[in-house]
Symmetry: C2
């Protein structure tokens, strides 16, 4: 797949009047931060622009939505452009696919590894630590002013997808962008307080409860924990407030792989997998109909929690033995 | 107090043959990373150099000690130079004070706010996010090669003292240094795995147990939790494995101040205080014989845990009311 240049994409954006941005479902800091930054820049350039979502924005990311996001699926009619941001997979545009494809021109800006493109214009760079890096590149390439709000949204995108500059995707370039964002007057401490220090008490409680379900497999090289709908009811926590638990499980000494099983409202089991330095969890996820990155992947299973647990345990054990 | 220049300090280091480095007691990532980086650079320059410590290095920081640290209080005899690193307070040199002062020349390199100096040469810059930034400045000022090991030690110093580039002390300059360290080939992902993803299972257990002791004061604007010697025995955790819990308490939504009380082996109560955006906890700590930064301070009380709890609750309530 050939990438377009930032300049080609900027030219397409310049020609459009109405533009819809599509983050992936269960939008995270990178998807929302990237969309917010781009939406603000496009509105400042006089465009009718909205971020079309279909689900709840997590509490700690709501500061990124300054009247950019809408769940109104009819907004803007058939737009001139649709841009999927941090999402190069129609499945992750989910129920908004028809709206996405209704645009005259479709654009994809993403850093996830993908094999095929479904858009007219594409900028996909899996070496970028975050889609926020690409939005920064796009905006600077087309000479847009990086004001403080845009800079803070891009910072939020980068800081969340790099685990605070911690994951191995972080590069010299990531820090160079972060340094440049300070020139726009970002209050990085405040952004991080919003993202990382606005934990509801319920979140703390569900985490403690979930960590208590932890068991080790493959001789301690992997750990599995879970959360059920009943545990969520008991604590009053939202399912998305269990985000981060799988990274915490991975952080245990000697643990190469961590898996967190989430019982969804419809009874399906959402599986989040992380590995530290060796296991390719994307491969394991793919064998179960999912996907993702080498060190962070997932899938959804339609079976009981205990069946899901057994399946995962077996695949982890196999995978770790083959290392 | 007048600061010397990096060049003046470099000249003093160049003239010495035997050099002892002194991190503060309970050395953290900044103290140990800064000492390791400086020790390696000085040894490469042909010096007899050691990092003199008097207590245990936390598990997750032991990778920084590549035969640099010693608890042998007689090593090197009376050195040509003593350098206190990340420590501008004789109290925090603790039982090594006599050794420190036995040197012909004493040097202080630190980023903690201090009012007086006790060394012949000083470089104290409280605007630096970490002493690691100052070590980077010193080494580049004197033309020392920043090799990969030095760069990784400096990265460890910076990443720990900024909470992964999160705290408000982080600046454009911090990210510029981080970007430059990538040129030396650092594996930042691996460093962060060592620091943040090498958590002993016992640490996870003591944390869960300590978080369960949490109570709110001042109408939920502050939280207090504690750990006792009995809890440590029950889980098999070390006291230093409760580091980080106070930051976690602070991260709760609506909480301005968090306090964590640690019952030490000698029965004294070590108090760690953190605030989010408004309360000056250094002031509160000072009224109880302690000190620290505006958002991170501490003191030690010689009373029962419940007396300490009451004292702290009252002072927090007073302090928060006065905001």
């Amino acid at each position: 797949m050939r990438n377009n240049t930032f300049e080609e994409i900027a030219a397409a954006l310049a020609q459009g009047k109405s533009i819809l941005l599509f983050p992936h479902i269960h939008a995270d800091g990178d998807a929302l931060g990237s969309c917010s930054a781009l939406c603000r820049a496009l509105r400042k350039a006089g465009k009718d622009c909205w971020v079309l979502i279909e689900d709840r924005i997590p509490e700690n990311l709501q500061f990124l939505d300054r009247d950019y996001c809408t769940t109104d699926q009819d907004i803007l009619g058939a737009p001139d452009l649709s841009v999927c941001v941090d999402c190069s997979d129609m499945d992750r545009i989910h129920n908004r696919g028809r709206r996405f494809l209704s645009a005259k021109v479709t654009v994809c800006i993403d850093h996830h590894r993908t094999t095929d493109s479904f858009c007219d214009l594409n900028y996909i760079d899996s070496s970028a630590a975050a889609t926020g890096e690409l939005i920064y590149g796009l905006l600077t390439a087309c000479g847009a002013e990086i004001d403080r709000e845009i800079a803070e949204a891009i910072f939020a995108a980068i800081v969340t997808d790099t685990g605070r500059f911690q994951y191995s995707n972080t590069s010299r370039h990531t820090h160079e962008i972060a340094a440049a964002l300070y020139d726009a007057g970002i209050d990085a401490g405040h952004i991080c307080t919003e993202i990382y220090e606005s934990m509801r008490m319920e979140r703390l409680m569900i985490r403690n409860m979930a960590l208590n379900t932890m068991s080790t497999v493959a001789g301690g090289r992997a750990v599995i924990a879970y959360v059920t709908q009943e545990m969520l009811r008991e604590t009053g926590a939202f399912l998305d407030e269990t985000d981060g638990i799988v990274e915490e499980l991975r952080s245990i000494k000697g643990v190469e792989a961590a898996v967190f099983l989430k019982e969804a409202e419809d009874g399906s089991i959402k599986v989040s997998m992380r590995s530290k330095e060796a296991l390719n969890v994307a491969e394991i996820a793919q064998t179960m109909g999912g996907g993702g990155h080498i060190r962070a992947a997932g899938c959804t299973l339609t079976c009981s929690l205990s069946d899901a647990y057994d399946q995962i345990r077996n695949r982890l054990t196999d995978g770790l033995e083959r290392l």
